[in-house]
C-alpha cells in the first residue's frame, strides 16, 4: 500500500502540559508532575484541571498510581459551552496540528477530508458524569464517543468520510492504515487521524485495576494530517494469547501512543523507515512506514 505523507501533527501530552498559575490541584497528583511548557500550538490559554463536581472527595490517595493530566483548554467560544474536556482537547490538538503544518483551518475543511477518530476510554469521563447525574439534559449526547470527532467536524468544517474506532494503540495504527487506503482509493484527498485519551475523572476506577496498566497513565490528545504520498506502508497484527482483559503494554497513553511516538520520531528527524507499534488486550500491531521526506519535521517545513 502507498504510504501517505504527513502534512502536520499536533500532540498535547500530560507529560508536558503547562502549569498555570492559580490552577487548583487536580483530582490526582497530576499538577505536581506537570512539566514546563510544551507544544501547545494555538490551543490558547489553559484554564486549569477539570472542575467536575463530585471529584473532590474521590481524590486518589498517595499510594495510588499516577495520572499525568492535561488541563482543560479554555472554551474557544459560546458554541463550546457544553463541550467536555475531551472535546476541547481534540479541538486543541487539531489547532496544534494546523500550526505544525503552518496553515489555516480552511485547508482541512470540506467533503474531501476524511476524519478517523480513535479512543480506548476518553468517553469514560462523560459517561461517569452522566451516570452520577452531573451536567444538564444535553450532557447525554456528550457521552457518545462520536461526539469528539463531531465537535472537530463542526468546528473545522470537515464533512468527508468518517470512522470511529474503539481500542488502544493497534486501533490507531489501523486507523492510519485505513486513512492510507482511503487516500489511495481516491475516496478523499486528505485524512485526519484524531486520538484522545483522558483518565483523571475515572482515576479511582483505574486504580482498582492498577495491575492491568503500566503507570503512569498519560493523558494525551493528538491529530495527524495525511495526504497522498509516495512511500510504502505495511500493517500487521497478531495475538499473543488470552491475557487478562485490559492488560496493556507501556501504552499508558492507550490509543494516542503511536501518534506520540511518531511525534518523537519526527523530532529526531531520523532517516529510515518509521516503525510504530502497540498492544492492547493481547493484540500486537505494527505499522512500517517507508522513508518519506514529509515525515521529518524539518523536511516538511
Amino acid at each position: 500500500m502507498k504510504a501517505p505523507a504527513i502534512r502536520g501533527l499536533g500532540v498535547l501530552s500530560g507529560t508536558e502540559a503547562k502549569s498555570v498559575a492559580g490552577a487548583s490541584a487536580g483530582a490526582t497528583s497530576a499538577n505536581s508532575t506537570l512539566a514546563k511548557s510544551a507544544d501547545w500550538g494555538s490551543a490558547g490559554a489553559i484554564s486549569g484541571p477539570p472542575q467536575l463536581k463530585g471529584l473532590k472527595n474521590e481524590t486518589v490517595d498517595r499510594k495510588s498510581p499516577e495520572i499525568l493530566a492535561l488541563p482543560r483548554p479554555e472554551r474557544p467560544g459560546d458554541r463550546f459551552r457544553r463541550a467536555t474536556r475531551e472535546c476541547l482537547l481534540a479541538r486543541a490538538a487539531v489547532d496544534a496540528m494546523l500550526e505544525d503544518g503552518k496553515t489555516s483551518r480552511e485547508a482541512i475543511a470540506g467533503e474531501r477530508t476524511a476524519l478517523l477518530y480513535v479512543t480506548a476510554a476518553a468517553y469514560g469521563a462523560s459517561n461517569r458524569a452522566f451516570i452520577e447525574q452531573r451536567g444538564g439534559v444535553m450532557h447525554f449526547a456528550y457521552t457518545a464517543p462520536a461526539v469528539v470527532p463531531a465537535e472537530v467536524a463542526i468546528e473545522f468544517g470537515v464533512a468527508g468520510p468518517y470512522g470511529i474506532l474503539i481500542g488502544g494503540a493497534p486501533a490507531t495504527l489501523r486507523a492510519i492504515e485505513q486513512a492510507a487506503r482511503l487516500l489511495e482509493a481516491g475516496t478523499c484527498d486528505q485524512a485526519l487521524v484524531l486520538a484522545v485519551e483522558i483518565f483523571e475523572e475515572c482515576a479511582d476506577l483505574y486504580a482498582r485495576h492498577r495491575r492491568s496498566y503500566r503507570w503512569p497513565l498519560v493523558e494525551t490528545a493528538a491529530c495527524l494530517w495525511l495526504e497522498r504520498g509516495a512511500g510504502a506502508l505495511s500493517f500487521e497484527s497478531a495475538r499473543d494469547g488470552w491475557r487478562a482483559a485490559g492488560a496493556v503494554e507501556p501504552g499508558e497513553r492507550f490509543a494516542v501512543g503511536p501518534l506520540a511516538d511518531l511525534r518523537d520520531w519526527r523530532a529526531r528527524a531520523t532517516a529510515g523507515p518509521v516503525e510504530l507499534s502497540g498492544r492492547w488486550r493481547g493484540e500486537h500491531a505494527r505499522l512500517l512506514w517507508s522513508p518519506d521526506k514529509s515525515h521529518a519535521r524539518d523536511s516538511a517545513a
Binding site: 480506548a120 461517569r128 457521552t143 462520536a146 470527532p149 470512522g163 475516496t187 497484527s237 488486550r281
Partner: protein, 394 residues
Amino acid sequence: MATPERVVIAAAGVVTPIGQDLEAFWSSLVTGASGISQIERVPVADLRVQRGGEVKKLGRIKDWRGVPDCRASRLLIAAADDLCAQAAFRPLPLDPARVGVVVGTALGGVEEGEKALAGDRGRHRLPQALYDGPGWALARWLGARGPVITVSTACASGATAMAVGADLLRAGEADAVVAGGYDALCRFVLRGFDALRSLTRDEVRPFDRRRSGLLLGEAGALALLVRERDARGPRLGTLLGYGSASDGFHIAAPEPEGRGLERAIRAALADARVSAADIDMVSAHGTATPLNDRIETAALKRALGRRAHEVPINSIKGSLGHTMGAAAALEAFMCLLSGQRGLIPPTLHLEEPDPECDLDYVPGQARPGRPRVMLSTSMGFGGCNGALVLEAAR
C-alpha cells in the same frame, strides 16, 4: 481503477425483541408483529417513557460459563450462536488466526460502568465497561484469534462494522469475518433519551404525520463475511458498497437538509459501482422522529432522483424499536431476506402518511416484490451517516 473484490454475506444470526433467530425475526417482520413492551430488566418508574424493544429472556444459550455477566456481551454472543448454528461455524472450521471480529456499538458495555460506579468491584466490570469489551468477549467465545475491532459511529455503527469487516477480507488480514452490531437496553441510555424527549408514548410511526418519536430496542446482529472466491454453499447476498460522511453540523441533531446522508448514499453507490437506477429497494433509517423522517425523505430524493419515487422504502423500527448499534446490520439482513423471499416487510404503524414524506413507505402489510439491489441508510449522534448497498442472492 481495479474493481474491489466482492464480499459475500454467507449467513447471519440475530437476537431481537421479535425473535431470537433469523427465521423468527423475519417471520415477525412480515407478519407485522411488535416487540415493544414494558421494560422489566432495569428500573424505569421515574422515566417519562417506560417501554421499549426488550429481549425478555435470552433463551438461546443455556450455559453462560466463561462469558462475562454483561448484558451487551451476552446479546452479542446469543446472536453469534444463531449465526454459528446456521453456518456450522463453531468450532471454527478454519485457522482461528484467520477469523476476525468487527462489531459496532453505540453504548458498548456502559452498563458495566454503571455497576462499577455503584460499588460492584467485580474484576471484569471495568474491562467490560470499555466499549470494546463485548467485542473481545465475542472473539473469545468464538475462539477467533484474528483482528478484533470495535467501531462506534453511534447508530450507524452496524453499517460501519460490516464495511470494515469487508475491508479486512480485501486486505487479506482475515479469511472470514464475523461482523455486525449490538446494543443493550440499560438505564443509562433509557434515561438519556428520556431526558432528550426523543421517546414517544405512542407507537413508533415512521413517516406517519402523527409520528412523535422513537422507542429504543436492544439486539445483536452478526453476519459471516467471506470473499466471494472463498464462499461455499448458500449465501444471503453480497455487500456491494459502503459510504460514510459527517454532517459537521450539530452534536445531537441531523443537518436540516440531510446533506451528510446524501453524501454517504452517493459514496456508497460509487463504491458499489451502481447507479440510482439500479436500486430496487431502500431500508430507511426511519426513526419516527419528526425531524429525521422529513430530512431522510429529502436526502433520498436528492441522492436517488426519480428512482426514489419508484422503489419501496421501509423502516422496521416500528416493530422492534431503535436498536442503535445493531440497527443497520438488522436492516441489511432484512433487505437481503426480502430479495431472497420475495416479500418486503411493511413499515409498522404507518397509517396516515405525512405529505412531507411522500415516497412509497410500504404501509399496511408486507408486499410481494423481489428486489435485487438494495440501499440501507443510517444516521447517528454526532452527525454520523452511513449507507450500505447490498445485492440479494438468488
